[in-house]
Amino acid sequence: MEQMKYTFNVEKDDFVLAGQASSNIKKLLRQLGIDSGIIRRLAIATYEAEINIVIHSLGGCIELEIDPSYIRVIAADRGPGIEDIDLAMQEGYSTATDKAREMGFGAGMGLPNMKRNSDRFYVRSEKGKGTVITIEMALKAGA
């Protein structure tokens, strides 16, 4: 299998289309015959990242990179960034809008849940510029 790359755009405040990028990614990985447990964890982490872009940013994109030894999802947005990443990683801490809460989100579980469902997880954020979240799943032991 060669390395493959895909990019999906994510619009801010679009709560109808939110989740479509994650859904496409999930279906793509299923077609490739990736282990269903790995797909499930990656789908949850990617969806949380996608919802965060919809809620908190001015828009962004999700990149999927599939390599024989790993799958990497990079969710990058333009926006205010995360003021205090350590605080945002705490379960229950949330700055979500009322609209996000109406849709069933904003419980302050997003970032910790992304980390829990990733083999490797990185957050990089610059105030006033945006946030880049990287989620990696190993496909082979030691990858």
């Binding site: 709560f15 109808v16 939110a18 989740g19 994650s22 859904s23 999930k26 269903s36 499930r40 789908a43 949850i44 990617t46 969806y47 949380e48 919802i51 849709m103 069933g104 989100f105 904003g106 419980a107 302050g108 579980m109 997003g110 910790p112 849940n113 829990r116």
Partner: protein
């Protein structure tokens, strides 16, 4: 417990997923908070919720949930049902409240999920 038995216990209308009524469900989770569904639910689970929007279906899709029961008689729009259909998720609708529906299923032996 089969989805068919859940539908009978809750006197529920089947909105989509007629093919999947014999699907085995091993536990249930009741919440209007999708963040918690994503954080806590694993395996062959039915979600009971009073929240009606596309993200409930997306959440079920991502977490590999087999079925959703919409409670309090809140019927979702057609496009929401269509999204569930596309993703092979069974959708039921009951007039019971979240509390009553949960109680009926629990009394019939359907367990809640175990938190780690």
């Amino acid at each position: 417990m089969k989805v068919r038995e859940i539908a009978e216990a809750l006197n529920a209308e089947i909105l989509c997923g007629f093919d999947g009524l014999d699907t085995e469900i091993s536990c249930a989770f009741g919440s209007d908070l999708m963040s918690d569904v994503l954080a806590f639910v694993k395996g062959k689970t039915v979600l009971l919720t009073g929240l009606i929007n596309q993200q409930v279906i997306r959440t079920a899709e991502m977490a590999d949930l087999s079925a959703i029961v919409f409670v309090r008689g809140k019927k979702p729009e057609e496009d929401i049902i269509r999204l569930a259909q596309e993703n092979n998720i069974i959708v039921l609708l009951t007039r019971d409240t979240l509390y009553s529906a949960s109680g009926k299923l629990y009394a019939r032996g359907l367990a809640g999920i175990q938190l780690d």
